[in-house]
Symmetry: C2
Amino acid sequence: MKQNSPTSASRNYHHGDLYPSLLHAATEMIAEGGTDSLSMRKLADRVGVSRTAPYHHFKDKNALLCAIAEQGFERVEKLLDEIRTKAATEQQTALFSEYVHTYIEQAYENREQYDLMFGREIWRNGVATASLQKISHQHFKSWLSWIESLCNQGFINSGDSPLRTAQVCWATLHGLCRLLNDGIYTEQSSMSQIVDSAVNMMFKP
Amino acid sequence: MKQNSPTSASRNYHHGDLYPSLLHAATEMIAEGGTDSLSMRKLADRVGVSRTAPYHHFKDKNALLCAIAEQGFERVEKLLDEIRTKAATEQQTALFSEYVHTYIEQAYENREQYDLMFGREIWRNGVATASLQKISHQHFKSWLSWIESLCNQGFINSGDSPLRTAQVCWATLHGLCRLLNDGIYTEQSSMSQIVDSAVNMMFKP
DNA sequence: GCGATATTTTGACACTGTCAAGATTGATTG
DNA sequence: CAATCAATCTTGACAGTGTCAAAATATCGC
């Protein structure tokens, strides 16, 4: 009474592909209806599996959220790498501006994921997965390294150490994302101008 | 069989002082154990009243959270007023720096409330109470007015309009608060230096 | 004192995360 | 090929959640 292909994700007892399916479906769900609308049970339902099946692949709901956040860090890390390698010495400031714009756009397009990446539910009280901690620290190092080189080349001269500069610039970037994502800066049309203004404040003459 | 004083908050059927009691207890609870640890039922328990009693004073759990957030806005508005009125023309930049430092300290001391003031749970999807919307908009106007006067006096010259300047500066301030509150900038010791660095970037020479 | 009104309670429902025990399968041996 | 084992999935259960409806109780204006 065996079905046909063993590795096909059919309606068998063993799903065979559950981990990635869960991750994919969960990411979809939070993108559609917000993080609050994601419940382990509805997720299991959506994937066509029983309530507690996901617990064999994610220790917790928290672990699942961490995994989603991780994907977000992978995306921004990739973005940063791509833009940095484009850098011909001249257009560095233009590329930096492009990065900031793109970063904010992506944060807005993936609001809920961005919220997981930096929001309180994960980082508070140290419940972040080890691998999530690793990739996020790695990403800040990449950012710092970029700011450092921009400082050394004289594009940014804040009068402070590159570390402090990187921290403040990131705070600005992050603050813009949050105000946009949380619906406080609602007119997305003017957002682009605000971002330009922010970049100008970083590259002081 | 009547108890003694009618308005005393004793163990009567009518609590007599429920609204402020709820607000107070709720604020305490989120300060102690985070917003997630606040449930309507535990709150009712704490105040010594039945599960659904709070629903006659707050339409929703959301309405309760909005009320807590409102108190936060009242506090920062008061802070801004106090510091601005101290302004002798000379020490304006020092006062601004003091405001920023204090703002961030207060945001950290009332982390959970700050989260409610700007976090997704309230502002997303327009679930903010009318009065909460009012007081928060009012506060941004105060901030804008201050930045405007600082621009006019030449303390800040970002080369952009005061509105854009106010938006970007607020984003920086807010971003620092979030990174600190969400446990991403963990070393609170270096926070003060980061804030100084941020203020320096706003007051460019 | 009486009725209207405001306040509080009890009961109920659907939903949540997650643990423990059992069922089913695919892979690994002998 | 048959038997064992570990991985995977399911069913049952429990305590906790927000919130609605109906009933109970107190306070206030007359």
